[in-house]
């Protein structure tokens, strides 16, 4: 495309430019990979190798001992249970919270786009704004209401909290998706005599695969990674994995078992990493949808 005086020159600068571009890209790839590399590599070393060697070296003795310890025997808070029970707590919390908030979001999106009413934009605006509140502002009354409902410190209580504060996003996702769904299809189904729920189940839902995946991934990642609500509302038998990890790495007793801590951190991050690796495309789309675009 260039009409440079010397083709040769242009080609050479082209090569140099590309070399610079590739080196920059690779340099940044290293920057992004390094922390994960450090965590994984050091989680597979015995403790004295970490102390004597250095964190970038590959293990000279490979061991999965730190992983086993982090999973089932490490000291978390006061009891040597490992992360296992808290991992299960997180799953018990995430699964229903994701399912309920996604279903409600789908229904809300359906109503807000296909059964419009006076003031619907106002309702949506208020639900959307709720996505952006600093959660600190609801901590005190939330704790109180969970107490009054008898849900303080329970997994159910955390599920309720995550459903409520996830609704804004799930509604946003489905609303934007259904906005582009042809309203004429709904009208055709109405003329065919289909009811409100029949239209939802038979016409909209079968076409909602992509947005369901996006919403589930978004909700799963957010709820799994939550620290604030877990730290504020969880009790002994409802502590989620993020908070347990905090207790693990900050436990003041005994020597700092860095290799166990590294293994624990990777364990806590594993489910969301797996989701990301398995369905990265949808993951990105979810993030983008979260940016209100669409």
């Amino acid at each position: 495309m260039s009409a440079a005086p010397s083709q040769d020159n242009a080609a050479r600068t082209g090569i140099i430019a590309r070399a610079v571009i590739y080196s920059l890209l690779i340099l940044f790839a290293v920057y992004y990979l390094l922390p994960l590399y450090v965590m994984v590599v050091n989680s597979l070393k015995p403790l004295d190798e970490i102390r004597q060697g250095q964190m970038l070296d590959l293990p000279s003795t490979w061991t999965i001992e730190p992983w086993l310890s982090a999973w089932s025997t490490a000291q978390i808070g006061v009891s040597p249970t490992g992360l296992k029970p808290y991992f299960l707590n997180s799953i018990l919390m995430v699964v229903p919270a994701v399912a309920v908030s996604t279903l409600l979001g789908a229904l809300n999106g359906y109503v807000l786009t296909k059964w419009r009413f006076r003031g619907d934009n106002m309702v949506f605006g208020l639900m959307l704004l709720a996505c952006f509140i600093p959660f600190q502002i609801v901590l005190i009354p939330s704790a109180r209401i969970l107490g009054e409902l008898g849900l303080a410190g329970t997994v159910t209580g955390l599920v309720l909290i995550h459903v409520v504060y996830g609704l804004g996003f799930t509604t946003l996702f489905f609303r934007n998706y259904y906005e582009a769904f042809p309203t004429e299809l709904v009208r055709a189904a109405q003329i065919d005599g289909a009811s409100f729920f029949q239209i939802f189940r038979r016409i909209l839902l079968p076409s909602s695969g992509p947005i369901i995946v996006v919403t589930v991934i978004w909700q799963f990642t957010n709820i799994w990674n939550d620290f604030l609500f877990g730290a504020s509302f969880a009790d002994f038998d409802s502590i989620p994995i993020t908070v347990a990890l905090n207790n693990l790495v900050n436990s003041s007793t005994g020597v700092k078992e860095y290799n166990v801590h590294f293994a624990g951190a990777v364990l806590a991050a594993l489910p969301t990493l797996v989701v990301y690796i398995v369905s990265g495309r949808y993951f990105v789309r979810g993030l983008m949808a979260g940016a209100v675009k669409g």
């Binding site: 571009i21 590739y22 890209l25 940044f28 790839a29 922390p35 994960l36 450090v38 965590m39 250095q54 964190m55 409600l104 229904l107 809300n108 109503v111 009413f117 934009n121 949506f124 605006g125 639900m127 959307l128 704004l129 709720a130 952006f132 600093p134 600190q136 609801v138 005190i140 009354p141 459903v163 504060y165 609704l167 804004g168 509604t171 906005e179 409100f196 729920f197 990642t221 990674n225 939550d226 620290f227 604030l228 993020t242 990890l245 905090n246 860095y258 801590h261 951190a265 806590a268 991050a269 969301t272 990493l273 990301y276 990265g280 993951f283 993030l287 983008m288 940016a291 209100v292 675009k293």
Partner: protein, 311 residues
């Protein structure tokens, strides 16, 4: 195929129970939406109101609505050195975090947009930190920057004995280590946003500019980057609200330390409310945080919803 009597009759008799069923169908959408909306009204707006009222009381360990102190908590808040440090840190953190993420994100997106071989391999590498929680991010960077086992130690074992990088332990510099970790976590996402924006640019515009003799740099500077305006805006809004909410990262990396060097408003609220039993002051700090976020978000959402209605 004209109508017959037989077809009209059943329809007419159905008219009898029409009233109740039609009314139900008419109300059903609103009934379906109502629980969600009610939950949001109570748990978000009701609670904001609760916290706002609380911030005018003298509550300490528990909510206490009997003592009324007016704006007293806000006055105390803005006279409290920890809050001032928190605000200063937030300013440093958010400016750097937003600026670096945006520049880095845009830069990487432009580099990746040069028909790079292996893009499909590199892109997920830049993006994966977004899948990690801020908490795990903080834990990882805490170790990586820890002088006794992290980067400094590595340099020393490699023979660079004089190398020193102990920002995380230094009051003046610790906040910058949090910026480094936060940028690591979020910049890939900003890159993805810009990449999507770049891929959406009309190719014919670029061809026209090439025919006009514009160089690649010029095309980016004069045509493509100005076209990215909406992406800049979205990225700004997302990053700004993440910055103001930032809490987990600070807890994981420094827990506010050394001293109070890395306090931010979210941490302030937590420490005062639950650590120091200053519930009313915690509430007033949360109200200030909300006002900061809303001052950015509300105009943005307003224009987005407006725009949406037009198209």
């Amino acid at each position: 195929m004209t109508q017959t009597q037989a077809e009209i009759v059943p329809v007419l008799t159905q008219g009898a129970d029409r009233g109740a069923r039609e009314t139900l169908q008419e109300w059903l959408p609103k009934l379906v939406l109502a629980p969600s909306f009610a939950l949001i009204l109570l748990f978000v707006y009701g609670f904001i109101l609760f916290t706002a009222v609380l911030s005018f009381t003298g509550s300490k360990l528990l909510p206490d609505f009997s003592t009324w102190v007016g704006f007293g908590n806000y006055v105390r808040l803005f006279n409290h050195p920890n809050w001032i440090v928190s605000l200063k840190n937030l300013a440093i953190f958010s400016v750097l975090y937003i600026a670096v993420c945006t520049v880095l994100g845009l830069g990487l997106a432009i580099l990746l947009d040069q028909k790079i071989r292996g893009e499909g391999f590199l892109r997920p590498i830049y993006l994966y930190p977004m899948a990690l929680s801020f908490f795990v991010t903080g834990v990882a960077w805490k170790w990586f920057l820890d002088p006794s086992i992290g980067l400094e130690h590595v340099m020393h074992t490699w023979g660079w004995e004089s190398f020193s990088f102990r920002w995380i332990k230094e009051g003046k510099m610790a906040i910058y280590t949090i910026v480094i970790a936060a940028v690591w976590q979020s910049s890939g996402f900003v890159m993805a946003m810009f990449l999507a924006g770049l891929r959406g640019v009309d190719n014919e515009v670029i061809k026209a500019a090439q025919i006009d003799g514009a160089s690649t740099v010029m095309i980016y500077r004069r045509i493509i980057i100005p076209l990215m305006r909406p992406v800049f805006l979205s990225a700004f809004v997302v990053l700004a609200h993440l910055a103001i909410k930032s809490y987990d990262l600070v807890v994981a990396m420094t827990d506010g330390g050394p001293g109070t060097a890395t306090w931010v408003p979210a941490l302030f609220m937590q420490k005062f409310t639950f650590g120091r039993n200053e519930m009313a002051m915690g509430a007033s700090s949360a109200i200030i945080m909300m006002m900061m976020i809303f001052s950015i978000i509300v105009p943005y959402l307003y224009s987005e919803l407006r725009g949406g209605r037009r198209s």
